[in-house]
């Protein structure tokens, strides 16, 4: 389409004079924007279906914890359109598909451990036939006692992984000597990802027994490895491709693999292409969510609210298997201080095993649950000492040189300045007075406000994942092909990394094309997770570009006798070229990038390079519970004002202001899109999105009719987002900062604003308990608590 190649239509003499288009730091549009708005973007379920394709549906466990006494699938097999039924007995290789630790099984064998656990898969000519057939299984269970809550798991010490503990100073002495202490608990519920595109994989069997796999996964390499293990194939027989996901949010980091494996198994059994598109309700029942956390705390503080010591326990609800829980609970522990210096602290993290779906990665990866406990504590302390929570927060911020409870030294920390700037910009003090006046004047409507910061550690806490590869090819017309292990799920990764490459060669952005992530192009990659996409892949791509530039530099010196070669305005500039050429400007020879590359090719120069990057400086000694797990911290703050109805608990989000630090932003529009989207997603997690389970362990919030993510009307009436434009002191790609996860925690300000409004009923004398999400029901409970206790 002409729209894409417009800059190539410009002659080089035009491009010579104008700045390059879409370079790093500019708000280039998403690389698929046109395809998105026209519906031309192809998601896996939109791919043409090959003849003979089977559509897969699963039979699911109806019990939380039970032995399977018998499973009669004869009616499933004889249902209309059914061509294949696969069970655990058909797996030629490994049944365990646990991503890090064993425990996740592809199909239940004789034991089921959660309601919704896959028992078998059926393949039929149509999706509807498969779904109807799957209902016909007759399964007899022998029920076993089920652990369904974190509290019960704690009581039984029923864990998926060992408990971990971090210590700083003598927390006991600090608490004993503190003039004031307060204790409490906080239950933070999990969150359903609700990516708009459900889990889906389409597998084509190959002539050598291998599999070509199209999947909606954040981790193609893991899908590739697990399929190879399930089918007992060498990894090189499986090719996995991901062009784009219709949303991921962590829910497709490990959770895409089971369906790709099931489809591959069925393709292996039948020789047919198999599509596994998981119906929304099955998706919400069968796949893991953000972990529920049950937390307890005791903190010591002085009369001004200065923190003196803390004893914090966090317990994540792992579900039936480890999945990624170990790292998620670690991250909750790493973030239980959020922005604040606890002079002495103990943080204990448990991994509760429950007979529920295995919880998994979700944007923030345990960090938000850790930050929530910290902010709840700060709120409690502020009300206990009768000060504005903002002042208590400011007083307790880390300063450069402070050390966290896991041994990382705080550096380059601008939080005080950032919060002060936000408070000034959004007129926090003036509005606080206005809120007081409003609450005095209104009996039933009350307003509240909270300003909360976030300090989020960037790097995978599983250290080997902090590496990436990239492939850059230059073709003889100067167009560039870019590929890396990172996946596109809407976050604009493809755009930002393409901007890096365009910037390296100083060519227009539309000269760079990123193609689908493919395990044959860049192998052994890490998941696109932990906000690391741009940090890792941007650096790896830059590394490949540097290699290519060196070759192009060599060629210029060799072929043109140049003393210096530089890239500028879609041209290669040869300084001190020995011969006179067309295009000489003084002692500089300007050659269009395309023609120069073609010359380099004719001069036998390799125009393809791989790049590699491994994050420096990071380590964590688990035995000592100390180290530097994070390369750097991303920071930001948000202020939300709400109004509640004290008769029903209903509320309105009146205003939100965000100031967020994305370092030197590679693309401000995309970064602001991430920040706003994360805020609303975090606000949803803290307000209307409520996971509910019945007493048999069934998820009863199993569809969008019962699980309510924010709509456009839930967006704050006034919504301001700004970037705190500050160079990252660490050598990240162009000194930018990761922006995927950190701003999710801005949504915490919405929750605490609701609590602030409820507390106003007691003139802020009472700290109403407020577990999350703060649904209208919980807000009304908090109001009633304040009324009853003041």
């Amino acid at each position: 389409m002409s729209t894409y190649m417009s800059s190539k239509m410009d002659a080089y003499d035009v491009r010579r004079k104008r700045p390059v288009k879409g370079k790093s730091g500019k708000s280039a549009t998403h690389d698929s924007a046109l395809q998105h708005v026209t519906g031309e973007a192809i998601y896996i379920d939109d791919m043409p279906v090959l003849p003979g394709t089977l559509h897969l549906a699963m039979g699911l466990s109806e019990k939380a914890h039970a032995k399977i006494k018998s499973m009669d699938l004869s009616a499933v097999k004889s249902a209309p359109g059914v061509r294949s039924v696969v069970t655990v007995d058909d797996v030629p290789g490994q049944v365990d598909i646990g991503p890090v630790f064993p425990g996740d099984v592809l199909f239940a064998d004789d034991l089921v451990q959660y309601v919704g656990q896959p028992l078998f898969a059926v393949g039929a000519d149509t999706f509807e036939q498969a779904k109807m057939a799957a209902k016909l299984a007759k399964v007899e269970y022998e029920e076993l006692p089920a652990v369904l809550t974190i509290q019960e798991a704690l009581k039984q010490a029923h864990f998926v992984r060992p408990t971990h503990e971090q210590n700083k100073g003598d927390y006991k002495a600090a608490l004993e000597n503190a003039p004031n202490t307060l204790s409490g608990d906080l239950y933070v519920k999990g969150q359903e990802h609700f990516y708009l595109e459900g889990q889906v994989s389409y597998v084509w069997p190959q002539e050598d027994g291998g599999m070509q796999v199209y999947t909606s996964s954040q981790h193609p390499t893991e899908v590739q490895k697990l399929i190879a293990e399930v089918l007992d194939l060498p990894i090189n027989h499986v090719q996995v491709q991901v062009r784009r996901m219709g949303g991921g949010f962590g829910g497709k980091e490990t959770q895409a693999a089971p369906f790709a494996c099931m489809a591959s198994l069925m393709a292996h059994m039948t020789g047919r292409p198999v599509k596994a598109r998981i119906a929304r309700q099955d998706d919400m029942v069968t796949t893991g969510k953000r972990h529920d956390f049950y937390n307890e705390f005791t903190v010591g503080y002085d009369d001004q609210g200065k923190l003196l010591g803390a004893d914090i326990m966090v317990a994540g609800m792992a579900g039936y298997s480890p999945d990624l829980t170990d790292a998620i609970v670690d991250r909750a522990m790493f973030h239980s201080d959020n922005a604040y210096n606890f002079p002495a602290a103990r943080v204990v993290g448990h991994r509760a095993k429950t007979h529920t779906v295995s919880n998994t990665a979700f944007r923030g990866f345990g960090g938000p649950q850790g930050v929530a406990i910290s902010e709840y504590i700060l709120d409690n302390v502020a009300r206990a000492v009768g000060r504005d929570p903002l002042d208590v927060r400011l007083e307790n911020l880390y300063k450069d040189g402070d050390v966290t409870h896991y041994g990382q030294t705080i550096e380059d920390y601008h939080m005080h300045e950032l919060i002060t700037q936000l408070a000034d910009d959004c007129e926090y003090r003036k509005r606080r007075e206005a809120i007081t006046a409003f609450n005095t004047a209104n009996k039933y409507k009350k307003r509240g406000m909270a300003l909360t910061p976030v300090k989020f550690g960037n790097s995978f806490t599983v250290s080997h994942l902090n590496q990436a590869g990239a492939l850059v090819n230059i073709y003889t017309d100067g167009s560039i092909h870019l590929n890396y292990g990172g996946t596109e799920m809407g976050q604009g990764l493809f755009t930002k990394v393409a901007q890096v490459v365009a910037n390296e060669f100083q060519v227009d952005l539309d000269m760079v094309k990123v193609s689908a992530t493919n395990t044959e192009k860049v192998p052994n990659t890490s998941p696109t997770a932990a906000s690391s996409g741009t940090d890792l892949n941007g650096k790896a791509a830059q590394n490949a570009c540097i290699k290519l530039k060196e070759r192009l530099d060599d060629f210029g010196k060799r072929h043109y006798g140049a003393t210096e070669v530089r890239f500028e305005n879609n041209h290669v500039v040869l300084v001190g070229a020995t011969q006179n050429h067309d295009g000489m400007e003084g002692d500089e020879l300007w050659i269009g990038f395309g023609p120069y590359v073609e010359q380099a090719y004719m001069g036998r120069t390799s125009l393809s390079a791989t790049g590699y990057y491994a994050t420096p400086k990071i380590y964590y000694d688990r035995a000592k519970a100390s180290g530097r797990p994070f390369f750097y911290y991303a920071t930001g703050a948000a202020c939300t004002e709400v109004e509640i109805d004290t008769l029903t608990g209903e509320y309105d989000m009146l205003r939100a202001d965000i100031l967020h630090d994305a370092g030197h932003s590679l693309n401000p529009a995309i970064d602001i899109g991430q920040i706003e989207g994360a805020y609303v997603q975090g606000m949803g997690w803290m307000t209307t999105e409520e996971l509910n389970w019945d007493d048999k362990g069934r998820v009863i919030s199993n569809g969008p009719a019962t699980y309510k993510i924010p709509t456009a009307a839930d967006m704050p009436n006034v919504f301001n987002t700004k970037l705190f434009n500050r160079k990252n002191a660490e050598e990240t790609i162009y000194n930018s900062k990761a922006v995927g996860e950190p701003p999710l925690m801005h949504g915490i300000s919405a929750w605490l604003a609701l609590r602030d409004a409820a507390a106003s009923v007691s003139d802020y004398k009472v700290n109403p308990p407020m577990n999350t999400p703060a649904t209208p029901e919980r807000v009304l409970d908090a109001v009633n608590y304040c009324k009853a206790n003041s």
Binding site: V37, G39, Y195, G246, T648, G673, A713, E777
Partner: protein
């Protein structure tokens, strides 16, 4: 045969599953994959498409609907457009160009549905700037999990500033006018049949009555916004479906001095203007029932006949002392709504009978109507508690009170003890504050995914106080606005 116009082309469908939805047809038969399946439950809007009707003066009126739960057969005689019809060559529709320029798409999966919803708004506004309320309303049924909506709303505010859509777009042309609806289907045979399943599309009530006599167990398909879920969530298949969408006599709204009557097939969207005139509080509730796409499909008759304890209109109709007219081949009868709901999803409708219209007494000068919906989310959510309250007074005392709640029992149910307490009491706030204490004697609600029993009781009681506040201290309830 089913005949409809799709993106300017006339489509005739004969051999097809009568249970087929529009979305399944688009994605697996006609290969229009721009329209996505996000939830198959009418809740996310990724499947939004446009239905165009000729409004007055040759103008087209566009309605976004959820293709996922809409029956293909209910399209017979209609004109629809998918997102594929909006772009012509390189010329993007203004909605599309604005969405690109304002970074309105991230993962892109919800985007075609959002473009469809905003295109309906764009065309219905004739290219004029939409208000914030209109934009929110248009987007109420479109979930986006990536953007947080701000850039989408900015795009919607800006779209009218872009060059007009290509005149070659079927959506810009008079495609709907050129489309010649098919000849009426004869009733001797179904419009479509496959594998022993049949779909009938009657055009007169006489035909409907005869069909119901012949097929007393047939499934009546009005808006289908609840029935559609049985197809796409439970994977049920109906043997005989009668689609009511061509029964013009059931889409009428008529008025007498005392009553206003709504034909059973009047959609929420079409009812809104009539309700706004007679019962503004009811009209405001309509804006909070589901989302625009569902309100364009769902009907008042369907909501009442479905008899769900969490349907939003029945408590209000009960408070208004509405009656329903039921009809069959044997004639018509009227039943007070009080006597219509018999139990959980059970009504007084007999085999062979259909609900013809809902007859609602107008408010007298001494009466006022108060409606409150409480749910977790403001838009597109099922009520935890819904209250419909009609108060009558003589200036000094309360002379009548009709109070009905949804979400509090197995059926929409009157609060008889609370009503009794209000009767004859002084017409003042304290009467409501006292009466509120009686709610606990009227209901023993359930705990479910939406709320606990305690919350429901507490809120229901407080809504009686809110009724008093709405009458005596309305300023204390003014809500929202800017910080």
């Amino acid at each position: 045969m089913i005949q409809f116009s799709l993106n300017g082309q006339t489509v005739q469908v004969t051999d097809i599953d009568p249970n087929m939805t529009i979305l399944r047809y688009l994605r697996t038969v006609s290969m229009h994959s721009a329209t996505k399946e996000g939830c198959a439950g009418g809740d996310c809007g990724a499947c939004s498409i446009l239905v165009a009707e000729e409004a007055q003066q040759g103008q087209l009126r566009f309605q976004a609907i959820n293709a996922c739960i809409a029956l293909l057969g209910s399209l017979d005689g209609k004109t629809i457009f998918t997102v594929e019809a909006l772009k012509v060559g390189d010329h993007l529709h203004p909605v599309q160009q604005a969405m690109v320029d304002y970074h309105g798409a991230q993962c892109g999966f919800c985007t075609p549905g959002i473009v469809a919803s905003l295109a309906a708004l764009y065309h219905n506004k004739g290219g004029a700037q939409a208000t914030d309320e209109e934009i929110h309303e248009a987007l109420s049924g479109n979930l986006c999990r990536c953007t947080g909506y701000r850039p989408i709303i900015d795009a919607a505010k800006a779209m009218n500033a872009y060059p007009a859509p290509s005149q070659d777009s079927p959506a810009s042309s008079t495609g709907v006018v050129q489309f010649d609806p098919c000849a009426p289907n004869s009733l001797e045979q179904a419009a479509v049949s496959q594998a022993g399943k049949h779909l009938f599309i009657p055009e007169t009530e006489g035909q409907l009555s005869q069909l119901l006599k012949d097929y007393p167990d047939a499934t009546l398909w009005a808006g289908g916004t609840d029935l559609g879920l049985e197809l796409t969530q439970q994977f049920k298949r109906f043997d005989v479906i009668i689609s009511l969408h061509k029964l013009a006599s059931l889409t009428k709204v008529t008025e007498t001095d005392d009553d206003i009557s709504f034909g059973a097939m009047v959609t929420y969207s079409d009812a809104e203007a009539h309700l706004a005139k007679q019962f503004p509080a009811f009209a405001q509730l309509i804006q909070r029932i589901a989302a625009r796409q569902i309100r364009n499909l769902g009907t008042l008759g369907g909501n009442v006949a479905n008899a769900s304890p969490i349907g939003d209109t029945p408590p209000v109709f009960l408070a208004l002392n509405a009656r329903v007219e039921l009809a069959s081949i044997n004639g018509k009868r009227e039943v007070a709504l009080d006597d219509f709901f018999k139990g959980y999803k059970v009504t007084d409708l007999q085999k062979g009978e259909y609900l013809r219209q809902i007859i609602v007494p107008k408010l007298t000068a001494q009466q006022s109507l108060h409606v409150f919906k409480v749910s977790k989310r403001k838009e597109d959510d099922i009520s935890a508690v819904l209250a419909g309250v009609r108060i009558e007074h003589d200036g000094s005392n309360i002379t009548d009170a009709r109070i009905a709640f949804g979400g509090m029992a197995a059926t929409p149910l009157r609060a008889v003890n609370t009503e009794k307490d209000l009767m004859g009491k002084p017409f003042e706030l304290s009467s409501f504050e006292h009466a509120a204490e009686h709610i606990q004697n009227d209901y023993s609600p359930m705990k479910d995914v939406r709320a606990t029993a305690e919350y429901r009781l507490n809120v229901a009681s407080n809504l009686i106080i809110k009724t008093g506040l709405e009458i005596f201290e309305p300023e204390s309830l003014t809500q929202g606005g800017h910080a």
